[in-house]
Structures are given as C-alpha cells and as structure tokens.
C-alpha cells in the first residue's frame, strides 16, 4: 500500500494545507468581500437618498430637458421635446467628435515634430525643441483659455465678417460655410467612391504580390488615387450634377443657413491637438532613437534614399517602441477633452454633469454614468491599440 501511494506522486495532504485549494479559497473570500461592500454601498446610498428625500433612480432619462444646446450632431431642442437622455447623447457625440479628430491631428502633428527634432537642419531641429518644451511645460487649461481668447478676441463681429469668395465667412461666432444639399441622384457619387476604394485596395494587394514575386513595382497608389478622384466625378456629371449649396445669409444678428463651426470647438480642438502633439513628438523621437544606427547605415548601403530608409526601415521598427506610450496619449487626449467645461464647449461633462446634474439634482447617478462612459471609451481605445500593437510586434521564430 505504501509503495502505491508513493507511485501516485505527491503525498496526500489535508485540503487545508493544499496550496491550490487555499489559493482558490482566498480568491472566493476576497470576491465575496468585494461583492458585499459594493452591495452595502449601493443599498445604503439608495436608502440614504430616500431618507433625505432626494430623487434617485434613472427615471430622469426620459424626462423632457427643457433647455437648448448650440453645438450638436443629432437634433436636440426644447421645442422638439428632447429628453435628458438625448442631452447625454449630444454630449457624448461631441466628446467623441473632438477626441476622434484631435487624435488624428495630434498624431500627424506629433510625428512631424518628432521627426523634425531629429532633423539635420539646425533651425528646424531647434524650433521643434522649443515647441515641445513650451507646450509640455505649461498647463493645458491655460493653453485652452489662451486659444479660446485667441480665436475670439481678434475676429470681427458677425456684421463685419471676413468673407472669402462671398461664401465662407469668418467672425467671432466661428466659421460659416455653405452647406451642401444633395439632390435625389447624388447617391451614385457615393457608390462610385466606394467602387474606387474597392479597386484601390485590390490594386495594392496585386501590387504587393507582384513585387514579392517578381520584384517589379506597380504604381497602385497613384492609379488608385486617380480613380478615387475621377470615378465619383464621372458619376456626379452623369447623374446631372445633383448637388446644390445653401449659402449663409446675413440676418440681423448672425449669419443664418449654411454650416457653422463654433469657436469653442475650434479652440478645444486646437488646444488638445497642439498639447498632445508635444508629447507624441517625444514618443516618436524616443522610438526612432531606439532603432540602432546600423539599420539606417545598412539601408543606405543598399541604396535606399533617406525617405525610403525612414519609411521602410526606421519607422516600422520604431513603431514597436512608440505604440504603447502613444496609446496613453490618446487616452489622455480623450480625458482632457473634459476641460471643455472651461470654455463652454458642450461635451459630455459640460452638458451631462453640468446642466443635467443640476436640473435633476441626481449627482450619484449622473457622475456614475459619466465615469462609466469615460472608462468604456478608454478601454475601447486601448483594446484597439493593443490589437495594432500585437500586429506590429516583433514576430520571433
């Protein structure tokens, strides 16, 4: 019997001393404690709110809001009976809009500045350095207020707008442009664009295969881009030019009609872009410096030009270093967009935790929802950046 027990491997111990069982037990206990605390906190909060006669719950979501918001991507008006839930959506979309465009612009600007800092041209390198140092070392809130005043102060009032071709107007209420009004057959133009994009993708796939097989290069991007311009134009012309424009008109106070870009949006976008680009530039510089010099020397020895070396050899390797900190800059930009509060851009924080919280008085619910939204946006951004990162990562064989 004893020998058999020894054959089975480790000696039998009481489950009390089994590290595996113990580990699971600790996890279960911890989970139960956390659940208990969350449950107690929630029920206690509800009870206390009720005792203090403070309204609670999410019933306010479908109550008519009764106020207006000037900058919105979806229809919202007190006349149309919009609800607090609609106000939440307006704020959320405004946040996403400024974050999305901000991320794209900050990435482009950041890469340009970061590469410029490593330039052999002394003036360009020093200018980039000054940019990075000034922008990174002053508070963002101050920069936003600066841009808002810089946008607002020197521009004329709407009665004396600066105008371009009598169609685009610039004043201290923003930029007003003619808005396109698509006619009935305009959809053909969209379809033509989609077809052109599909052909473009097909061409580059073919070009890559051909280059891998024969070494011959095929100008896929040039042809693809040409098609992307020409095909929709032909479709537009064939459908009988079904697009008209609504031009802004001067009325007593403002220009009415057309599309308007508001100064609050411009100030926030410019502020966030310039600020975040300063940090991205440093990430890019660090990434490029991390690629050993031998790589570019080898590329030059093979006869690649400076541009090709950068594009084909240095940047792809630098990306591995750049992406993780780049992700956190994207998250920062999104979260920093809540500073919109200071300059009156109706983002999620301004609309929802500002006006809605105050009109409903339901601080706990409103703050909880807002925190959840930022958490979701941030986690989604990192999720996609992580996918991108794992695709760029060094594949070891």
């Amino acid at each position: 019997m004893t020998t058999e027990a020894a054959d089975k491997g480790a000696p039998r111990v009481s489950p009390l001393y089994d590290p595996k069982v113990r580990g699971i037990a600790y996890q279960v206990v911890l989970a139960l404690i956390i659940l208990f605390v969350v449950y107690e906190a929630t029920t206690n909060a509800i009870e206390n709110l009720r005792a203090a006669k403070i309204a609670s719950g999410f019933g306010f979501w479908s109550v008519e809001a009764g106020f207006d918001i000037n900058q919105k991507l979806i229809p919202f008006s007190s006349t149309g009976g919009s609800t607090y839930g609609d106000a939440f959506l307006v704020g959320l979309l405004n946040t996403l809009l400024v974050a999305f465009i901000g991320i794209i612009l900050a990435t482009i600007l950041g890469f340009v500045i970061g590469i410029a800092r490593l330039s052999n041209n002394w003036i360009i390198a020093k200018l980039s350095m000054v940019y990075v140092e000034v922008i990174r070392n002053t508070p963002l809130l101050l920069q936003l207020l600066f841009w808002y005043n810089a946008v607002l102060k020197p521009l004329p009032d709407p009665r004396n707008s600066l105008s371009l071709f009598g169609a685009i107007f610039l004043n201290n209420r923003g930029v007003v442009m003619p808005s396109p009004v698509p006619g009935p057959n305009f959809d053909w133009t969209w379809i033509a664009s989609l077809v052109a994009i599909a052909i473009w993708i097909g061409l580059s796939y073919f070009a890559r295969k051909q280059q891998a097989a024969t070494g011959k290069r095929f100008p896929a991007n040039l042809i693809g881009f040409g098609l992307f311009i020409i095909l929709p134009l032909i479709a537009y012309w064939a459908a009988g030019s079904p697009l008209s424009f609504e031009y802004p008109k001067q009325s007593r106070f403002n220009l009415t009609g057309g599309m308007q870009i508001y100064p609050e949006f411009v100030a926030l976008l410019v502020g966030l872009t310039i600020y975040t680009a300063g940090f991205i530039a440093e990430n890019v510089r660090a990434g490029i410096l991390a690629v050993s010099k031998g790589q570019s020397e080898a590329a030059h020895a093979l006869g690649l030009s400076n541009g090709q070396t950068l594009r084909l050899i240095v940047v792809p390797q630098a990306m591995r270093v750049i992406i993780p900190p780049l992700t956190s800059q994207y998250l920062n930009l999104t979260k920093n967009s809540s500073l919109a509060v200071a300059i009156g851009y109706p983002d999620l924080v301004q609309v929802f935790t500002g006006t809605v919280l105050n009109q409903t008085g339901q601080a706990v619910e409103v703050i909880a929802i807002t925190m959840l939204v930022y958490l979701t946006i941030s986690l989604t951004t990192s999720f996609f950046m992580n996918i991108y990162n794992s695709r760029m990562a060094l594949v070891e064989r």
């Binding site: 206390n48 203090a52 009156g344 006006t355």
Partner: protein, 338 residues
C-alpha cells in the same frame, strides 16, 4: 474640479454616513463655532468679497444675521463660494449649513432635491442685456440672436421657454460660471446676456464699457430668491426662516440699528415681543430671547441691508419695487411674532 469633489463627497456621504445629513444642524454649528454658508462666487450687491476680503451683500447679510442670532457674532461665518451648478450638491452633502446664493425657489428644487426653501429675500425676474449699437429695444426683437447664459440655472430653462413661446430662433452659449459667461459676452461671443435682472445690473459693472450696454425692459420670469436648507431638520429650517422674518418685521416696526436702544424701552407689545423683552420666542428656536436684538445691532433690519447692498446708497441703485414692504406696495411680508 470642485464639482467632482463635491459630488464624490456626496456619494461617499450618502453611502457610508448613515444619517449625517439629517437633524442636529444647530448643534453641529454650535460645536463648530461657526456657520458655513454657501455663497456666490462673486455677485456684487448679493454675495462678493470686498477689497479687504470681507464678504458683503444682501445674501451675505442673511448668513451674518443667522450667525449673530446664534453666536452674538456676525463674523463667525465661513463663506464657501459655489458656482450655480455645484450649489445644491454642496448643500445636500452637508458641505454647507445653509445656502444663500440668489437661488430661485421652484417646485422641483423644493421637492426632489431633498432641500427646503425657507422664504424669499429678493423677488427677482429674468431680463436681457444687449449692446446699444445693435439698436434693440425689446427682447422680442432678439430673433436669431446668440445668447450667453450660465448653465444649471433656471435662467437657462426660462430662456428656452421664452423663445419657444414667442416662436423665435436663438443660439444658446452656456458657460459654467458667471465670470466666464460675462467675459464671453464682453468679447462679443453673444449678442445678448441673460440672467436675473438684479444680476444684470451687478454684472454690467464688470464690463469694459458698462455704458455701451442697455438692459431690455422685459422681465420674462418669476425668480423668487431665498435661503435654502436641507430637508429633515425642522429646527434649523425654522431658525433660518425666522431670522429672515425677524429682519423684515424689524423694518416694518421701525426698529433700526440706530434706534435699537430706544426701541428696547418701547411699550409697543409687538416690538417687545420682537426684541424679547416680552415672551419666550427666542427659546422656541433654541436661542436666547434677545436674538433679534443681536441681529439688528450687528446686521440691521431688511430695509437697511437692502439700502446698503443693492439700494440707492450702493453702486447698483436698484429700487425697492417688489421688494418693498407689503404696507408700501411691495411683496415683503413676514408673519407676526406672537
């Protein structure tokens, strides 16, 4: 930032402090040795620090009167400046004992916020200010205008109602604080600026060229402004309510800072009850019977406070109007002390 902190404080208070926000406010105030009063971030005539950092104003005087009644010292008040969107949360969470910050008494605020309005210390109404050069003489001419306002106020809602009711178009530009709002208006972001009429007069003083702006004649809403306390502490509710009534009664009975000593010798039974030489009215509030003497001596009656802060002897030069005593054609009316 402040708002988030306040909200978190509310959340934490609501979650873990079993009933910190219920009764016993008077005892807490006495133990602390000072009254914490939610005030405006700076509205001339109503609640703003002067050049020496001393808080002055019609709203501030209510807090000082409460402190005088409790501590016999009108300076034992800590003023917490609150923006319009943070104010109710700060009161709910117990960060302030009383909120006297030109807040409009509305049904939803009185019923769903867990707060009680104790009375009206200023009858106001919403108006508009515009630049003279626009040539506007009535709010009904504002079709298509951009209007700057402060968010989280009744003003923001009345504005939408007014334009909706009159079938006019407008663009609202809402800011978090009154300072940002008036600065944006001054910079030309908006054609019109709207807030309570009293606020228009006060804010106009902050503009680069106050004389380039006019206040339009329309008053588009009822804005009864008054002190607010938390729901559920009736003793404290009574004390704040009767402090305001005492100031109004003192004016009605002609009791002023100057003639207080003579009035103490008065034979008029109403004055005797007011000043505590007869009856035990102060004790009913948990104070000593000469509570009104302390209020009038240190702060003055309602009329004196009005004159000093917003009336003819102040830069605002607001007429008594609706805020005159009921016996002089106004709305200020206090129940009798008996």
């Amino acid at each position: 930032m402040k708002k988030t902190i306040v909200s978190i404080a509310l959340g934490a208070a609501a979650m873990f402090a079993a009933s910190a926000v219920s009764a016993q406010t008077l005892n807490n105030v006495k133990n602390k040795g000072q009254l914490t009063c939610g005030s405006n971030t700076g509205l001339a005539g109503f609640g703003a620090p002067d050049d020496k950092g001393v808080w002055k104003g019609l709203d501030v005087d209510v807090c000082r009167a409460i402190a005088a009644a409790i501590f016999n010292d009108a300076t034992k008040v800590k003023f917490v400046p609150l923006s319009s969107k943070d104010r109710f949360t700060a009161l709910q969470s117990g960060e302030v004992d009383v909120l006297v910050r030109n807040s409009t008494w509305t049904m939803s605020r009185d019923t769903s916020l867990g707060l009680n309005f104790t009375g009206v210390n200023y009858y106001d109404g919403q108006g508009f200010m515009v630049r003279k050069k626009l040539g506007v003489s009535s709010a009904l001419e504002l079709n298509g205008a951009s209007v700057c306002t402060q968010q989280g106020t009744t003003t923001e809602l009345n504005l939408a109602d007014f334009f909706r009711a009159n079938k006019l178009k407008y663009e609202v530009v809402a800011f978090a604080t009154s300072d940002e709002t008036i600065k944006a208006y001054d910079a030309g972001r908006c054609d019109a600026f709207t807030t309570d009429a009293s606020g228009l007069y006060a804010e106009r003083l902050k503009l680069t060229n106050p004389n380039d702006h006019i206040i339009l004649p329309e008053i588009i809403s009822k804005e009864p402004l008054g002190p607010v306390v938390r729901h559920g502490d009736d003793q404290w509710f009574d004390l704040v309510k009767w402090t305001l009534y005492a100031m109004v009664n003192a004016e009605e009975l002609g009791v002023t800072q100057a003639n207080l000593d003579q009035m103490l010798k008065s034979d008029n039974p109403e004055i005797k009850r007011l000043l505590g030489t007869e009856g035990k009215f102060g004790e009913m509030l948990g104070l000593s019977n000469d509570w009104v003497v302390r209020i009038v001596k240190q702060v003055g009656n309602y009329g004196e406070s009005f004159e000093r802060n917003v009336g003819e002897s102040s830069p605002l030069k607001i007429k008594r109007g609706l805020n005159a005593l009921w016996s002089k054609g106004g709305l200020q009316y206090a129940p009798p002390i008996r």
